[in-house]
Every structure is written in C-alpha cells, then in structure tokens.
C-alpha cells in the first residue's frame, strides 16, 4: 500500500488538481494495481486499500488526509454502499463508486447512497483524470450552503476564486480567504484540525457521536419540518461549528432519512414475501426476523422506519404503551413498516425458540437474542468492550473466531467493573469511546460483516452472558446510564461495522429495550419528527435525550436496512 505523507492536512503545492489525494478501495488486487498506476499518471497522490474497514481506519486516522475516495461496490468485508454511507456522513468526502456491473438499479443505488459518480469497469484514464471535479463541486456547494452574510461573503470569495481558477490557484485562494474568515469568526476548533491558512483544504468537521447527538437533539427540539441550519446551530451551542457544517450535515441527514423511508416500503413487501419461508429451517441468524415477522399481529403501527411524519402513528404508539416494552409487545400490532419495529415486537415471541440466555434481563433479553438472530453476522462483541475489541482485532483478514475467543475473557469482569464504577469514573471511558468511536468504528465493524450464519449460538451466548452480567451488576441509575452510554457505543460499533440491517435495527431497539429494562423512561416529543427511529416514543418513555440521540446516530449511520435484509433473503434463497 502506498502511503501519502504522514502529516495531517497536506497542502498541495502543485496546481490543483495535481496532487489530489485519492484513496482507492478495491478487493481486486489486479484493479487496485491498475488504478494506482492510472491515478499516478494523473499526478494524483494515491493510497490503496483492499479492505473497506482498512479504508475507514485510514480515513479516520487522517481526518483531512484525503480529498476523494474511489471504491468498488462489491467487497467481501463491507458492502461498498455501506462504506459510501460512512464516508459521506463521517468525513463528508466525495465518493466515487466502481463496478463491472452497470445495471441501472445498481447505479441508482449508488447515487441514492450519495455517490458522486459511478464508474464502470474497465475504467479509462480520461474518466480518472476528471475526478477532481467532484472535489471542486463539493467545495463550492458547501460554500453555498451558508445562509448568513458570512456565507454570502464566502460566495463572493468563491466568485473571485473563479477568476483565479485558470491559474490553478483557485482552491488555495478560496480556502485561504474563507478559511481565514472562518477561523476569525469561530472561537474554538475543538474537534477539527486547524488547517493553516495556506492549506488548500478546508478543515473537515468530524461528526462525532457527541456532536451528532447535539445535532439531532436540536433538530428534534426545533421540529423536523421547521428545521434550518441556523436554528440548529444556535441550539447546538458549539462555538466552532459553522452554519455551513450544519447545513451540509443536515442535507445528508435528510437524504439518509428519506432513503430509509423508501426502504421501509420495500421492506414491507419483502416482509410479506418472507412470510412463507419460516421456521422449519435451522435457526440461523437470518431466520430470526422472518420468524418473528410471521408472528406479528396486524394492527399496531409499529413504525421504526415509518418515516413519513406519522403523527398519528406516533400517537398510536404512545397510546399503546407508555414506555412499557412488554405492554407494547403484547398489544396487537400493525403491519410493521420496517423490520425494525417488527423486531422489537417479535423478540418476545421469538424468544423461546431462539436462545437460552439469562432471562433476568427480561424484555431486554428478547431483544438481544432477537438481535443476534437478526444479524447476518453474529454479535461478536460485548457491548461495552469497544476499545478492547478494537485493539485486539487484526486488520488483515476476517478472524471472527479469533476475535471471539478473545471476547469472553476480559468481558464479564470488565463489564462488571465498568458498571460498578461511579459515574465520574465511567465518564472517561465514555469519552474514550467517543474519541475512539470514529477511529475504531471501522475495524470492529468490518470484521463483523461477514455473514456467518451458522455460528451464532455459542458466540451469542457469550455475548449475552456478558450483557447479563453487566446488567445485573448495574445498581444505580447513574451507573446504568453510563452503562447504557457504553453499550450504545458498543452497539454503535457493531452497527457501524455495517452488520446487517436487522442487527442494527435490533440494536437500536435493543437499546430501547435496555432502557425499558432499566426503567429509564424516555421522553421524546418526537411526533413531529420524520425520523423513523423516532416513531417509537412509546418504547422510550423518557430516556435521557442525548442517549436516544446516540441511538439515532447509530441508526442513521450504520446500516442500510433494506440492503441487508435483501442480503439476508438472498442467502436463503
């Protein structure tokens, strides 16, 4: 693998687009070599990667280290679309998809997931020569997103930048002035690296969990319909964040949510289809949800994914159960709009058939077991073990077994310890988790992704033992909260890896369940929101808002339900 220089933001000394820093991700070694050569011929700076999670690692480690990502669609450790999503949401980089398959549906999917271009293999030099346009375009659009006068001024700068373009100094010019201006306007730059004024790169905001929580919280408070970057920014109260940062993140958030809605519709029909397949097959993970779905009675509006502002639905759910998961489960349920909701409901029914685990967790257990069944890959990591797991993991090949064998050992005791720690003590872990989150999301996830259907039972049992241990050790509310936060990180980790949709969805519900189990009422005035996950207010009577946001974050970022569901189905076709 060819590495670019080790510094952070590397100013390009040559005229743009020369020196464009490209990250190429492709599991095909032949293509990787060819693309590297081709990109070098374009005078670009190339880094190659054959694994998606490795790519995510690289991107997270060097947050401003790349200008554009080119990725193949079909990769063994992570679906290219998944990677695309991650990169778009976390790093806000333009991503180009590649494939030998040029089917319209695939291309459409790429665009839906946010790809700025879709190239068909074999790729020609001239196509690669032009990829700089996507970097340029993004820059311009980000500038345009600014609503304030400052934004207007930036645009003015951009316009003058246009004049300079022919000199090839455009980017530097624009970034210099606007970058400087932004720096003057902002007080702090906590999470993002400061690009020095002469750098040609605008510092990228990394949307950490924490930051995204604030974002979602603000969106919720305002009301999704009335939301706007300025309002969000004001509510978020993050000094160094700019309106343009918020605006572009909001755009992506909206795209993501609308895509989920579409997929939930697809999923509905899918669920109908799957009805017939059920229980006689072996109890591999994927069958869990199907089975569960079968058991869904027909009328509760269960809309984890039901996006469309369903006020009525939300209200219905509210009416159904005031935060009592069990209550909801037993109530008659409507045809779920998405597997997510289905999962929650069905976990209870599915419980008996699925795993033997510590029933002291009650509803949580159901959800957890269901989670394991839902995932196309087994839950591999104890929820709170994120930092350890990440460090333990090999980045090379998929060593699921190895990873697993490491799990149980430190697990139970560690979790117990963590849970028993005081709030203050646990906090640093949370912070670590947060800071690690971005970095380690990849590796943990990527290894998760292989659909190992037949493996789950023992592994899951281990995980659940850990979870049980953790839960039982949770005494105080504070500890619980911390634990939940940790768990969220862990869950997020799992989700981030792109573990099948069902897992992600379930994990979200799982968290909800956990919250239920912990008697954390979730208070969520979410009726206004068009977010799918918000449609289970009943499930969460009053969770601390930020925790729920974390769930959302998780949900939003981490998977593509329809996709994984389809994979699921495909495996059993």
């Amino acid at each position: 693998m060819v590495l670019a220089e080790s510094g952070f933001s590397s100013p390009r000394n040559d005229a743009f687009p020369a020196g464009l820093r490209v990250l190429v991700v492709d599991d095909d070694p032949t293509w990787l070599k060819i693309l590297e050569k081709m990109l070098k011929k374009c005078s670009y700076e190339v880094t190659t990667c054959c694994l998606a999670r490795e790519a995510l690692n690289l991107l997270r480690e060097r947050k401003d280290g790349y200008d554009i990502v080119i990725s193949d669609v079909n990769m063994p450790d992570m679906d290219g679309f998944k990677l695309l999503e991650h990169v778009g949401l976390e790093m806000d980089l333009p991503v180009i998809m590649m494939s030998v398959d040029g089917e319209t549906s695939r291309v459409m999917k790429g665009v839906q997931h946010g790809a700025c271009d879709y190239l068909l293999k074999p790729i020609r030099m001239k196509e690669l020569r032009n990829i700089w346009q996507h970097v340029f375009r993004k820059k311009i659009h980000e500038v345009r997103d600014i609503e304030s006068l400052e934004g207007f001024e930036s645009i003015q700068m951009t316009r003058s930048g246009y004049d300079l373009f022919d000199d090839g100094h455009f980017l530097s010019g624009d970034d210099t002035t606007s970058g400087r201006k932004r720096k003057d306007a902002d007080n702090k730059h906590d999470d993002r690296e400061l690009s020095d004024p002469s750098s040609t790169k605008k510092a990228r905001v990394v949307w950490t969990v924490d930051l995204h929580q604030k974002f979602v919280k603000a969106v919720n408070q305002i009301g999704f319909d009335k939301v706007g970057p300025k309002k969000i920014l004001d509510l978020m109260n993050v000094p160094w964040l700019t309106r343009e940062n918020v605006a572009s993140h909001l755009q992506k958030y909206r795209l993501y949510l609308s895509r989920l809605q579409k997929e939930s519709d697809i999923k509905n029909s899918f669920i109908g289809m799957k009805h017939s397949d059920l229980p006689s097959k072996d109890s591999t993970a994927s069958f869990g949800p199907h089975k569960a779905m079968n058991m869904i009675p027909d009328d509760v509006p269960n809309s984890t994914y039901s996006f469309s502002a369903s006020n009525s639905q939300a209200q219905n759910v509210d009416l159904k159960g005031q935060g009592d998961l069990k209550g909801i489960t037993s109530a008659p349920m409507a045809e779920p709009k998405g597997a997510l909701s289905v999962d929650i409901r069905d976990s209870h029914e599915a419980k008996s058939t699925q795993m033997s685990f510590d029933h002291s967790l009650g509803s949580v257990d159901s959800a957890v077991s269901f989670a394991s069944f839902n995932s196309t890959t087994p839950l591999q990591y104890p929820w709170t073990e994120i930092p350890e797991i990440q460090f333990k993991q090999e980045c090379e090949s998929l060593h699921l077994e190895n990873g697993f064998s490491q799990l149980p050992l430190p697990g139970p005791s560690m979790i117990e310890n963590e849970a028993n720690r005081s709030r203050i003590e646990v906090k640093p872990l949370l912070d670590d988790c947060r800071s690690n989150f971005v970095e380690h999301l990849g590796p943990v996830g990527a290894e998760d992704l292989f659909p190992i259907q037949s493996k789950s039972q023992s592994l899951n049992n281990q995980v659940f033992d850990l979870i049980s241990a953790t839960k039982s050790s949770m005494k105080t509310q504070d500890v619980g909260l911390n634990y939940l936060a940790d768990s969220e990180f862990a869950l997020r980790n799992l989700n981030a890896s792109g573990v099948g949709v069902p897992l992600a969805t379930v994990s979200e519900d799982l968290q909800i369940c956990w919250l239920q189990g912990d008697c954390y009422p979730m208070n969520y005035g979410l009726q206004d929101l068009e977010c799918s996950t918000y449609d289970n207010p009943a499930l969460m009577a009053e969770t601390p808002f930020h925790l729920y946001d974390v769930l959302r974050f998780d949900h939003e970022h981490l998977f593509d339900p329809a996709e994984y569901y389809a994979i699921d189905q495909g495996l059993f076709a």
Partner: protein, 153 residues
C-alpha cells in the same frame, strides 16, 4: 538489428492475433500504455496478479459447485462476478464472456450449466495464460536483443 526487427514483427503479429481472436481487448493495450520507465514490468505484474486471482476464484467456484448437500449459488455467483471484474482489468474478453453466461446459470440455479461454464472458464483461462506467457517471452527476447517493445494499437 535484424534479429530485433524479426522479433518485433513476431510480437506485433502475435499481439494482433490475440486481439483478433478475442483473447484480449483494448484494455490490454491501455495497460501497455500505462507501462513506463517507473514501472517497466507493469503489464507482466498485472497479468501475474490476474492469474493468481483467477486460480483462486476458479477454485472457489469448483468447491462451491461440488457441494453435494446443496450448492450455494450465491457464493458461486459472487466468485463469478469477481472473476468478471478481474478479467475486465486486463482485457480478458473471452473469459469475461464466459462469466456473463455463467452468471445466468447461477441465477437460474442450474448446476449443470454452471459446471459447464466452470469448465469453459478454466479452459479459456489456461489458453489465455499460455498465450500471454508466449507474448511476454517474446517481449523478453526483444529486450534481451537490445530492442524495444512496439505498442500495438
């Protein structure tokens, strides 16, 4: 110099025939153009990577198709798809064409059809490998004789 000329002519003719018979397409020419002083063995290296990958994928397919208890056609299809992508990287047209047919059989879950395609793909791959090795040998001979490799358009 006469030797070099002869060899070069041989090389050109052989290249042309490979293109004509559909073993290689324009992509191979592109690869040759990419080769430069920085990477003088670029084409040979790429070809080696391709052969390795090919063998691995063919083995995967064979194993998957051998499963008595039930062939995982999704897995076979995935391997075929990979092979298709790989073959497009060096311009292995005939291999790629077999892959296209192969995928239809996978979709139809037709084991017999898949096995036939597997045979075909293996055959095409071996043919191509031999021919490329001959071509590379010619290249070596030209270089050894002090000449340069002509680029065949």
């Amino acid at each position: 110099m006469d030797v070099v000329n002869q060899l070069q002519r041989q090389f050109i003719d052989y290249s042309a025939s490979l293109h004509r018979e559909g073993f290689l397409d324009d992509q191979f020419t592109q690869l040759q153009k990419l080769q430069d002083d920085n990477s003088p063995d670029f084409v040979v290296e790429v070809a080696s990577l391709f052969f390795e990958d090919c063998e691995k994928l063919i083995n995967n397919m064979a194993r998957a198709l051998e499963q008595q208890q039930g062939v995982d056609f999704k897995q076979v299809d995935a391997s075929v798809h990979q092979l298709k992508g790989s073959s497009s990287s060096i311009g292995a047209m005939r291999v790629k064409d077999v892959c296209i047919a192969f995928r239809s059989f996978c979709e139809a879950q037709n084991r017999e059809g898949c096995l036939r395609c597997l045979q075909q793909v293996t055959h095409e791959y071996s043919l191509l490998k031999n021919k490329l090795q001959t071509l590379f040998r010619l290249q070596q001979q030209i270089l050894a004789a002090g000449g340069s490799i002509p680029v065949v358009e």
